[in-house]
């Protein structure tokens, strides 16, 4: 929530700053800049490149700031990482009281830091030492080295000058505590009494995310480099991505190979339209993901199953696109072609097919997008190679950096596919939207 507010704030500030800078720069006088009515004029609205760049940079900055990245200059406050100490008072079963000091320090990993040296302390309560792993809390069994133990009835009555009358031994017949467990303020953190009377020390956590939730950008980048070199789960990164892409392309190719002729047939013949309309209209709203279980039952989890799934995902989209392409043919073009002596086959080849290309390309773009999403999902369920499998396995081992890496690569590839399709479209269908 706070992060979202920060993100929005960055944009408001950037917007004002860019506006200010632009107002200083010389005005351009192209067609759009001279329009006085731009609000509501769609053609006057183009994506502001500055905003796009700021958008991407802001995400990285926020990501870096909240993960303690070395790449970003500013950081959200991180977790406390030094040492700390506080005094506490123990009351023995006989009502006698004695003070002691607890020393604690935060360590990067378990066993990373040497234990603190402590010297005894006077009275029956001895001083204590505790190592706490970064981002975690540590339980201080303060009586471990004392003459009087908790099981004997000793309890803490004061922490860091804050008294408490909490007694873990006072319970109802079900063994539930009668009092709320108290929390004490200590320097750089808090201490809470557990229901067994031990002290739970939580150093100040800060605002940053733990790598296990969200690793820093450089960690993800490091993973990309590492896995690109060494591979993961018996396959290189390229193999994983390559397999996913291969499945998409094969599945899509079969889908298009069957779907386009089927769509043409439905657009050209009453019989085919009547025959396949119910099937297509029924299958269209079924999300391909819902077919995964059935396909697994029928074809297993191997390549065949995945390709059948992607084939089905692409098939209906391509069928509908081709059908729409045929219906979209201006009848005057068909009439003109007949009057010029074209045969049915020639009409098909020289009028209907080229004229339906724009629709087919729109369909192909959608189908490729759906297929890419579906293949990742299918690999999440079951696969030996593939982008989805990679992140699924990594998530089981809590390797969040690999998961993030996978998501980013999946996103980039999906975007790349779309750009590529648009390029091909502009090359093959230059007349689209201009006729």
């Amino acid at each position: 929530m706070t992060i979202l507010l920060i993100y929005i704030a960055i944009f408001v500030i950037a917007f004002l700053a860019v506006k200010f800078v632009n107002s200083r720069l010389e005005q351009r006088h192209d067609f759009t800049s001279l329009k006085t009515v731009t609000f509501g004029d769609e053609s006057a609205v183009t994506a502001n490149r500055t905003a796009s760049v700021i958008s991407v940079i802001a995400i990285f900055l926020i990501w870096g700031a909240f993960t303690g990245s070395k790449l970003t200059p500013l950081h959200a406050p991180g977790p406390y990482q030094g040492k700390g100490q506080f005094d506490y008072v123990v009351e023995g079963p006989d009502g006698q009281r004695d003070g002691a000091t607890a020393f604690w320090q935060v360590e990067e990993k378990k066993g990373a830091a040497e234990d603190l040296e402590i010297t005894g302390g006077d009275g029956f309560a001895q001083n204590d030492a505790l190592n706490i792993i970064k981002y975690r809390s540590g339980q201080l069994r303060w009586d471990g080295n004392d003459e009087v133990r908790r099981r004997d009835g000793a309890r803490i009555v004061e922490v860091n000058g804050q008294p408490t009358d909490f007694d873990p031994n006072r319970r109802d017949e079900n063994g539930n505590l009668l009092q709320d467990r108290p929390t004490f303020r200590i320097d750089n953190g808090t201490a809470t009494l557990t229901d067994k009377g031990a002290l739970l020390i939580t150093p100040y956590q800060g605002w940053q995310m733990e790598p296990i939730w969200l690793p820093a950008p450089e960690a993800v980048w490091g993973r990309i480099v590492e896995i690109a070199k060494e591979g993961y789960q018996n396959s290189t990164l390229l193999e994983h991505l390559g397999w996913s892409l291969f499945r998409v392309i094969v599945g899509f190719a079969f889908g298009a190979l069957v779907g386009i002729p089927l769509g043409y047939a439905m657009g050209l013949s009453d019989w085919f339209r009547g025959w396949f309309d119910p099937i297509v209209e029924f299958m269209r709203p079924v999300p391909p993901l819902a077919l995964i279980p059935l396909v697994i039952i029928w074809a297993g989890i191997g390549e065949t199953g995945k390709i059948i799934l992607l084939f089905l995902a692409a098939l209906w989209i391509m069928t509908i696109a081709a059908r729409a392409g045929v219906s979209g043919v201006n009848i005057t073009k068909v009439h003109a072609a007949y009057s010029l002596g074209a045969s049915k086959w020639q009409i098909m080849r020289h009028v209907i097919m080229p004229n339906s290309l724009p629709e087919i390309f729109t369909g192909a773009r959608v189908a490729m997008g759906v297929c890419w999403g579906t293949v990742v999902a299918a690999e999440l369920v079951a696969a030996e190679k593939g982008a989805g499998m990679m992140i699924m396995v990594a998530s089981k081992f809590q390797l969040t950096d690999i998961v993030l890496m996978g998501i980013i690569l999946i996103g980039i590839i999906g975007y790349g596919i779309d750009i590529l399709m648009r390029r091909i479209e502009r090359w093959l269908v230059p007349w689209k939207g201009r006729a």
Binding site: T332, H335, A336, G341, S343, V429
Partner: protein, 268 residues
């Protein structure tokens, strides 16, 4: 007999609600080879329907169309069409569009290339041969459509408001071009138009149709097309008889429109 003969054609559309529209009733006509005929009439009087029947896109409910003594049953290259717009193939360039007819009929490229070049020259598009259709203005697109139609060497050219989508100046130039092509090629041309002036200029014969049911109301034989060939069309318009005929036809169509309005108001 050579020429185009319409033998008492009637066309009745049955509507889904059980009603029907009598789009044409008993239309008979003889058109000699090489005649230039314009067809005029209020909207909905069956002009397009008539042209589509001649083209072979529609089969009349009664009667028959005969071209050079054989019966028309469907579209064929002997009857070329020029539409108002949208009939060019955007995926082909100008030259390919014009060469489409010969190509469909199996004429080798080497044979048709000369003719295509010549036609592009005639319609003034020689420098635009390799341009894409969407790069051309509306007037140029209609020139391509004319050239494409002529490339097939049809006996009859049917035009459904071919200049209807053009601005007034371009339209005047194109009218000159149509006259020129008519004279040079000697084709039979039937041209539908909304504009009385255009009908007067581009019709040796002028057919005025009346609606409900669509039928031939009156026919004129006019000298203006012949006068206009290679001449300034504005000069022709200054001809005394031109103004008189124009007034007469305008009144005629005005009355028909009034009648239609009256009838619909009476029915309402």
């Amino acid at each position: 007999m050579s020429g185009l003969k319409l033998d008492s054609i009637s066309m009745r559309f049955d509507l889904p609600n059980g009603d029907h529209v009598q789009a044409l009733k008993n239309v008979s006509l003889d058109i000699k080879t090489g005649e230039l005929m314009s067809v005029l009439g209020p909207s909905g009087c069956g002009k397009t329907t008539l042209l589509n029947i001649i083209a072979g896109f529609l089969a009349p409910t009664e009667g028959a169309v005969l071209l050079n003594d054989h019966r028309v049953t469907g579209p064929a290259q002997e009857r070329g069409m020029v539409f108002q717009k949208g009939a060019l193939f955007e995926w082909m360039n100008v030259r390919e569009n014009v060469a489409f007819g010969p190509r469909m009929n199996g004429v080798p490229k080497s044979e048709s290339a000369g003719k295509v070049d010549h036609l592009l020259e005639v319609v003034g598009l020689h420098d635009f041969k390799e341009k894409a259709i969407y790069e051309l203005s509306g007037g140029m697109q209609q020139r391509v459509a004319l050239a494409r139609c002529l490339a097939n060497d049809p006996d009859v050219i049917l035009m459904d408001e071919p200049l209807g989508a053009l601005d007034a100046l371009t339209r005047e130039k194109m009218q000159g071009l149509v006259l020129k092509l008519w004279k040079e090629t000697g084709k039979t041309i039937i041209l539908i138009t909304h504009s009385v002036e255009e009908a007067l200029l581009l019709g040796e014969r002028l057919l005025v149709m009346a609606p409900r049911p669509g039928r031939i109301h009156k026919e004129y034989r006019l000298p203006f097309a012949e006068m206009g060939v290679g001449a300034d069309l504005r000069e022709v318009k200054h001809h005394a008889e031109y103004a008189i005929t124009r007034e007469e036809i305008l009144n005629m169509i005005w009355d028909m429109e009034e009648e239609i309005m009256g009838r619909t108001e009476g029915a309402a």
